[in-house]
């Protein structure tokens, strides 16, 4: 009888762990994270630095001029970026980027619509800073996650 109880507890624990493991990717899908290359010297960026960076202002960390990389791999990422990072509507942000060119001939941030290309670009440039779904980058050894920007 005691042996039977042990088996039941073991089975219940296994089922619970299996369910939790199955649920983990679902949680991960709902996290937008700030990412840099593993070769980057950036340890952390606060919200103001992040907003400066993606609005075209100069942000320097450890003598490295950071380069913003926009993630437009899906509409949801773009929506969260606009709401939570730059706090602007789509049209206002686009005009702001165009003003970068018009006022000082400054370069607009690179835009990637393919996650593999975005990860490749971030991994290859220690000064690049971007954001992505946690599930897309957490197992990529070339990418380092700085922090969670948004979660459901």
């Amino acid at each position: 009888m005691e042996r039977g109880n042990s088996v039941s507890k073991f089975a219940a624990t296994a089922v619970l762990l299996t369910l939790l493991a199955a649920a983990m990717p679902a949680f991960a899908e709902e996290q937008l994270v700030l990412v840099v290359s593993t070769h980057s010297k950036v340890e952390q960026l606060d919200s103001l630095e992040l907003r400066k960076l993606f609005l075209g202002l100069t942000v320097i960390h450890n003598d490295s001029r950071l380069r913003p990389v926009l993630n437009e791999t899906d509409a949801r990422v773009k929506e969260i970026f606009l709401q939570n990072i730059v706090s602007m509507s789509d049209i206002t942000y686009d005009r702001r980027l165009l003003r970068l060119s018009l006022i000082q001939g400054q370069t607009q941030p690179a835009v990637y619509k393919d996650i593999a290309q975005l990860k490749g670009a971030v991994a290859a440039d220690p000064s690049a800073v971007s954001y992505a779904w946690a599930k897309d980058v957490e197992h990529d050894a070339r990418i380092r996650i700085l922090r969670v920007l948004w979660h459901d």
């Binding site: 202002l57 100069t58 001029r65 049209i91 003003r99 970068l100 060119s101 001939g105 440039d125 000064s127």
Partner: protein, 366 residues
């Protein structure tokens, strides 16, 4: 040096920077920019027999730039069927973040409107610019293109705010019979170009925001292109001293842009100096479905009595100088980086009244 030599020098310079851009593209810390703003416009004005220079039926504004570490180079080339010019060409060094020293031809920082919109029509919500902010080749009365040095800096103040300082010094335009002739980087430059000193001190409630309020100052020593006094001015020189205040306030869905300039004109052979005031207020509101409605009122005082202002009226069938102007319009951003704009206006000029209607398509490429 002959005109041809100057042109060749400048073309070589521009080409070298473009080639440098391609070469630097392989490097991690360099980047280039190329953008074209285009616009096409239909215009009708009652009592006017022709559209003015400020209303070309089509225009293109080409922006090119290279950033390499702390160095920046960029230019703005503007073309219409009637004119084409290298409007800006600046080489800069960013000493510390957001503090840049530029050399070259630039838009003077004491203009509230032009430092924001430059020549790109797409980024301007409305079609027209206020008369007091017009460019020199559109019968503008205040010098806008200076060739020399420009210092720009933005520094944090308080928890979120910033102070922005811009100061320019260089060669002012020369004064001809009915226009100001700024130094032309690609062509000849008749006349003497004396000193221009301009500046702006602005407060930004948010360091990264688009809102600002500030003070503007300019002093331009304008010499006549010819040695003899200009007949309508009875003077061979005019010294402009400009004091201004401005606001550009953005709180989505609202935007308010306004400026007032007091302009003192000192003439060397006049029994008395003169002064005038000109200002404008524009209010914009974004509406659903990417529509934006806007209205602008421009007012002035003592401009009709000014001999300096009269210099710019050539009575050739369009309105060069507006004493008062009210405009109302609607813009529709119907596609990414493309917009249609309708603008209706009533203008009182030095010698007539006119009702105007304009329809414009504008875009940014790519």
């Amino acid at each position: 040096m002959s005109d041809l030599s100057w042109r060749i020098t400048w073309v070589c310079l521009v080409l070298s920077f473009l080639l440098a851009n391609w070469a630097f593209a392989q490097h991690d810390h360099s980047s280039g920019e190329f953008e074209v703003f285009v616009a096409a416009e239909a215009f009708h004005g009652s009592g006017q027999t022709r559209a003015g220079n400020a209303d070309p039926w089509i225009d293109a504004d080409v922006i090119f730039g290279v950033t390499q570490h702390q160095f920046r180079v960029f230019g703005e080339y503007y073309a219409t069927p009637d004119e084409h010019d290298l409007e800006r060409f600046q080489m800069g060094f960013e000493f510390v973040p957001e503090t840049v020293l530029w050399l070259g031809r630039f838009h003077q920082p004491a203009s509230a409107w032009n430092t924001e919109h430059h020549h790109g029509q797409y980024l301007q919500t409305d079609i027209t610019r206020p008369y007091i902010e017009r460019w020199e080749d559109q019968q503008g009365v205040i010098p806008q293109h200076i060739t020399g040095a420009l210092f720009e800096s933005r520094q944090s103040i308080g928890k979120d705010g910033a102070i922005q300082i811009s100061a320019g010094v260089g060669a002012a335009p020369a004064l001809s019979n009915n226009s100001l002739d700024a130094i032309n980087l690609l062509g000849s430059n008749p006349g003497r170009h004396r000193l221009s000193v301009t500046g702006r001190l602005a407060y930004l409630p948010e360091y990264v925001g688009a809102s600002s309020v500030g003070l503007l100052f300019g002093h331009d020593d304008l010499a006549a292109s010819q040695a003899r006094p200009l007949p309508s001015l009875h003077s061979s020189r005019a010294e402009l001293t400009i004091y201004g205040v401005y606001t550009d306030w953005n709180t989505e869905p609202w935007r308010v842009v306004g400026a007032t300039y007091y302009v003192d004109v000192k003439l060397d052979q006049a029994t008395r100096n003169e002064s005038f005031i000109s200002g404008y207020l524009q209010i914009e509101r974004q509406l659903p479905n990417r529509f934006t409605v806007f209205g602008r009122s421009e007012e002035s005082a003592r401009m009709q009595e000014s001999r300096y202002i009269a210099l710019f009226a050539d009575h050739d069938g369009d309105i060069e100088i507006a004493l008062h102007r009210q405009a109302l319009g609607l813009r529709w951003d119907y596609a990414r980086r493309q917009a249609l704009t309708l603008e209706l206006a009533h203008v009182i000029s030095l010698d007539q009244r006119s009702d105007e209607v304009r329809l414009q398509w504008s875009a940014a490429i790519p």
